[in-house]
Amino acid sequence: MRHFATGLGLFIVFAVLLVAIIAPYIAPHDPFAQDLNLRLVPPEWMDGGSAVHPFGTDQLGRDYLSRLLYGSRISMTIGIFTVITSGLIGITLGLLGGYFGGRVDDMVMFIITCRLSIPLILVALTVVALVGSSLTVVILTLGLLLWERFAVVSRTATMQVRNLDYIAAARAAGASRLHIVLREVLPNILTHLVVVATLEMALAILLEAALSFLGLGVPPPLPSWGLMIAEGKDYMFFSPWVIMVPGVALFVLVLGINLLGDGLRDLLGAGHAQWR
């Protein structure tokens, strides 16, 4: 069961990644092309649906399947780049605080506490109001705000590793501090960080959808899944698929990432115990 869930997660994540990469080649239509004669066409499996638009069309007559496929690019881009940005910030802070301790650690803890007291949505609102919304702004906003879990986990893990004998042995062999932090500590806390990365990625994708829904995320006409739900919400009573299709896609992707994260935690956890 465990392995099945992990495998399913892995499959979903890689499938979405693959779709994101090859979207231009598999999308049946141009996701931006409007056709006001074919507005809100139902999906194929509903009455009045056609094979030309398998998932129907939206209120501007754009092919929903194509928009869904292109939307995966936005979700994956946001997920990956947010994790990279926040990972760099959080891991750096966590390693510094965890390894050096003392005043450095106090400082790091203070920064983490400050970050925790910042309301995410309000900051995003302010940033969008000040500089306007774009994909880059969303990635940077999320990346600069979502690092606290990386920082907390890497700090704690570093503290555990710091006192192990092989760190003392490395110092006794003349290793510099930078070397010890990057080459001795970091590889040994990486397993924890991989799990955090999956959680953060899922969170970032959900937050992007939420921000886009509120009109604070990626600007139209980009086909973000959150934006698709926002644009469809006025029509959901008579054309429920306009929110169902992107909603299910979002749910499946986030579920897949979380399943993968859980599986990785178990697998890497077991590997870690084996090393000792």
Binding site: G101, G102, L164, D165, Y166, A168, A169, A170, R171, A172, A173, G174, A175, S176, H179, E184, P187, N188, Q274, W275, R276
Partner: protein
Amino acid sequence: MRRARPPPPAPLPQGEGEKFLMTPVLEIANLHVTFGTRVAAVRGVSLKVNRGETHCLVGESGCGKSVTALAAMGLLARNGHRTADVLRFHDFDLTRHSERGMARLRGDRLAMIFQEPMTSLNPAYTIGSQMAEVLERHRGVSRAVALDRAAELLGRVGITAPGMRLKQYPHQLSGGLRQRVMISMALMCEPELLIADEPTTALDVTVQAQILRLLQSLQRELGLALLLITHDLGIVARMADRVSVMYAGQVVESASAEALFDAPTHPYTRGLLRCIPVPGTARRDDPLGSIPGTVPRIAPDFVGCAFRDRCAHAVGQCAREAPRLSVSEDHHYLCRLPPDWTRAEAA
């Protein structure tokens, strides 16, 4: 308790040999280490380790042996505070070295092996990568050259198929093998001083004997100065040229190994030796010796003899001072009792 003396160290440059032999590789005088304001871990330790000599530091757990070694290496924890009149490695004043300068010496000319071979290797790297790194760091050689040297040293410490071992991860090796790896790693840059902190405590007895034999033969070949920290008097009897017995942060008795085993003078040393059953002498009905009580925790303002609460010979003077007396030129101890008190007692 007699053992064969190792032959003299490898030949030295003509003329300079005498002088070179006389300069200690490591010299420590009046070393103090405190942690915070309440714990004095080391209180005025002095010792010398000469080239080709094994100096054993003996004592119970928590008596300051390891802290002394870590202080010499400059590896104390952040809250440890170190002062010393002399802390010298050859001509280098270690108290004046920056952290960067110390890092350059460590692993190159002074090396250390730790007690726990199971956890002293980084689980994330292969043996070869970890060994090669030391040489690359200090000598700037290529990975291939460093790996050759690593394979040669693994062979030297008695590991078969070194080529295969280099590619393995620590968890694939047994404790004895890992300690051999640690030893050969310490020897990568041909250090002049090797500090071994209880190198065999975590190993089982047969492996222990192999590792000790290995250390002895390596020392003979390379002319290493060896500072061996142990709580096992059997190891001392087997390995030591000089012995310093530590108690509560002080060296309470320091002598050549012969002198110490022939004529132990400090009551603590005598107590320690009485705790060892000697085959042929110990009798079934005689209780084995023991020292009552435990090591006290010593604050920095402690005065007098730290052993007085556990000592059968304690008098009022012991609460005020423990004078440093000498049996001979290189046999010293910290006690009020005169050098010949044991003979007077026996008579």
